[in-house]
Amino acid sequence: MKMSLFSRRSDNESSFEELVMPHVNNMYRLAYHYCGQQSDAEDLVQELLLKLIHRVDEMQKVERLRPWMAKALYHLFIDRLRQQQRRPLETMQPDQLEVLRESGDSGVSSEKLVLVSNIEQALRQLNHEQRLLVVMHDVENYTLSELTTILDAPIGTLKSRLHRARAKLREILSADETKSAAMACL
């Protein structure tokens, strides 16, 4: 790097903002899926940004920043989970259903509302790895190719895991449907 006698304050801050701002919401969404709580998700995103501020030069060279940041977020979350021995995701109580209800004027039918509610409950019953994979691929639309980068796993392995995770999700949903039908008959 060539320095200049005439240089003034660093433009790192503005570069950093330009780089990360378009992806903050995406990272927050992922973080929410990981943590299950809005405040925890925001904490995680803040922690991510504190790490990334020191990597502006590296980020400027990254072609596709969203999966790159998602990978950093994923590792941060895993580290945090290990270090702090947080309670399992399955025991958390996300307020997703309430959010959906609040958006009552969005044209979401009551049948869809029930289905989404069931899906959310079923997602919570998946194990940690399956849940993250389904959420990243099917909810947040990360491609398998991007997920190979984020999760450090070959595409074939991810395909198999995703297939098993979806199968498990269907199994949970079917069991819930059967339970509901049985309850209705009582």
Binding site: L5, S10, N12, H54, L115, D138, V139, L173
Partner: protein, 225 residues
């Protein structure tokens, strides 16, 4: 294609990963199998339902606040091992290497400077001395100051014996081309000071201004302050 094969390929179909021929076979089967059609509808509903899973919106202004906070924290607390340890080691490394990479580069044409025992410039024409700072990690908002002896000035800053500005150093080598002009034949000392967050490191460079062009250059060892 039978029902079992359909079930196995359904994920690939829904994700658009089937080959054209495989997809045609699948459609052929679906045309004749009510059970698999219903299965497909359920799967499509599941995928659509997953897309509907909602996330509460971020707190108002969170994104901008979080980015600003990260930037402000970076100023106060450089990355890795805390300020003192990180800064010290980076500067020790930086200035140690500076001893071997700082040198004279007539004309400032971008050629890697050679190792020189001392710096000598001519009174006849301006010459560029390249100062190289190798740092272990990026340093933001560092203050770099150059103190000049009375017989040397930086081209473009006549009569100024102290130049100071804020700058950032990227990880690795940072070159500062210093275009110098001698105004009187004498020996002197250029002092380069790099400061960040109350800590500073000084490099003293012995410079001799000759009446004629001298090819030699040199630098001295840095002193802790």
């Amino acid at each position: 294609m039978n029902c079992r094969q359909i079930q196995q390929q359904l994920d690939d179909y829904l994700d658009g990963r089937l080959e054209l021929m495989e997809e045609a076979d699948l459609h052929l089967h679906l045309d004749t199998c009510e059970g698999c059609r219903q299965l497909l509808q359920r799967e499509k509903a599941l995928m659509a339902g997953l897309k509907q899973v909602q996330v509460p919106v971020m707190s108002p202004g969170f994104a901008r606040r979080a980015v600003s906070h990260a930037a402000s924290q970076a100023k106060q607390r450089p990355h890795r091992r805390g300020f003192v340890a990180g800064f010290s080691s980076a500067l020790v490394a930086g200035f140690a290497l500076m001893l071997v990479v700082a040198g004279i580069l007539p004309g400032g044409n971008g050629i890697e400077p050679k190792i020189m025992p001392e710096v000598a410039i001519s009174i006849a024409a301006p010459q560029t001395v390249n100062l190289a700072f190798d740092v272990g990690y990026a340093m933001h908002d560092a203050t770099l100051s150059i103190d000049l002896p009375g017989n040397i000035e930086v081209v473009g800053f006549p009569g100024e014996n102290r130049l100071s500005w804020q700058t950032s150093l990227t990880q690795g080598r940072n070159i500062l081309p210093l275009p110098l002009r001698g105004t009187a034949a004498a020996a002197g000392e250029i002092i380069a000071t790099l400061e960040q967050g109350g800590k500073k490191k000084i490099l003293r460079i012995q410079v001799r201004v000759d009446n004629k062009i001298a090819p030699q250059a040199g630098v001295s060892r840095p002193d802790w302050v």
